[in-house]
Symmetry: C2
Subunit: 219 residues, 2 copies
DNA sequence: TTTTCTAGCTGACTGGAGGTCATTAATGAG
DNA sequence: CTCATTAATGACCTCCAGTCAGCTAGAAAA
């Protein structure tokens, strides 16, 4: 455990080395996504790449370190909030949010590899790594959450009397809850009793969430 | 992995057996809390109890199974929402919530053993176990969240046009975020820049959260 | 009390995982 | 071509969850 992320690397690294690291992370992401953190085997990853297991440890220090890189790659693969079609953007903060909520489902299914790794990082790792992950999210803000909230504030759609962090936190929560619900459904369809009304219910949920959010943080 | 919780046990179990299970779970909780899931050793737990490691596996099937029992015990150790002094209760839903938010900090520090195990269950376990945990929370509702929300609805303090589940979900989120912030602070004091203003900031945060919540779900 | 039965306990054992390191190979600058 | 540095290898190590054949204690039956 202990994580500590990647080993320090002061020099800029040769390009070939960088390329190899990328290949390893790519395959690792797949294995983590398919099997979960525990069940993923470093030896399998090495075998699939046709390299020695030792190499992976040389590059990433530990399985934790490898996962952390995979997690970072996964989060970077997602589109920032403000990356939406111009017409949606023109309609403002809440329209953008709705756009992404509706999309979430597609993303979970289509782009499931980074998605699962991302979820594992949020829910499925030990507290030690979680700390590094928190740091990373604060430092990089990969989905441009802060910029998104600023956008809403500048357009006058959001209340001015709240800390930006608080608003960001609320957005996070909503999106996470939504993903969580989708994931749970996927893992355990029995939770949704009547399979017919899932779609409607989802639509209704989105509307409820957005309405709540408007009242909570909207002007 | 695979979890699957405890082995099936149709018979009611002898009292001595039940007592021993309880002792094991007790000690396990402590070890998990102190060392985290990964670092906790089943053999250490056995040694501390003066029993054979094999016995633990006989009782709980796996380390996962043991953790799940510890998690359940931890959650059951917490007080339900509605368990507050009468004068607080008389002041209604939001007063109760404030009461618990203010207490959270004490609880994290004083009652830290179940607390850490609880947090590990929420954040720090593999997705496989998370499914069991979700089921358990839905089935048992250990802190009486649903009853609490009903209380608020009956008093007319909450909007009638929202699903109970949605309100419960929002409450959960807020409490979790709060705990998370406290835990993060504990793990990494550097995140809070000026150490002096933490207390005030916390007070301010509680107020902000409650204000947001009132607008979001209050009548 | 004695015998029988069996749930529960034991602890040596295994398999397989992450991780190490001395050695070897590849790379690129001069 | 030479040499210094970086990367790759794979045999090896350690450690731990999980197993299992046999044993024990205590309750029920005789």
């Amino acid at each position: 455990m202990s994580a500590g992320a990647t080993a320090a690397r002061p020099q800029p690294l040769r390009p070939r080395t960088e390329a190899k690291r990328a290949r390893i992370v790519e395959v690792a992401m797949l294995h983590f996504a398919r099997q979960g953190y525990e069940a993923a085997r470093v030896s399998d990853i090495a075998e699939e790449l046709g390299i020695a297991k030792g190499s992976i440890f040389q590059h990433f220090g530990s399985k934790d370190g490898l996962f952390f890189e995979a997690y970072k790659k996964a989060t970077r693969a997602f589109s920032p909030y403000l990356n939406v079609p111009p017409d949606i953007r023109a309609r403002g903060f809440f329209a953008i949010l709705r756009y992404w909520l509706v999309r979430t489902e597609h993303m979970v299914r289509e782009d499931w590899i980074p998605y699962r790794v991302y979820l594992m990082g949020n829910y499925g790792t030990d507290l030690a790594l979680r700390r590094d992950i928190n740091r990373f999210l604060i430092a990089e803000d990969p989905y441009g959450r802060v910029a998104f909230v600023r956008f809403g504030l500048e357009r006058g759609e959001l209340r001015q009397d709240l800390d930006v962090e608080v608003i960001v936190s609320i957005i996070d929560w909503m999106v996470e809850r939504f993903q969580d619900a989708l994931l749970t459904e996927e893992l355990d369809p029995g939770l949704f009793r009547r399979p017919g009304d899932v779609a409607e219910k989802k639509e209704a949920r989105i509307n409820q969430f957005l309405a709540i959010l408007r009242r909570a943080i909207g002007k």
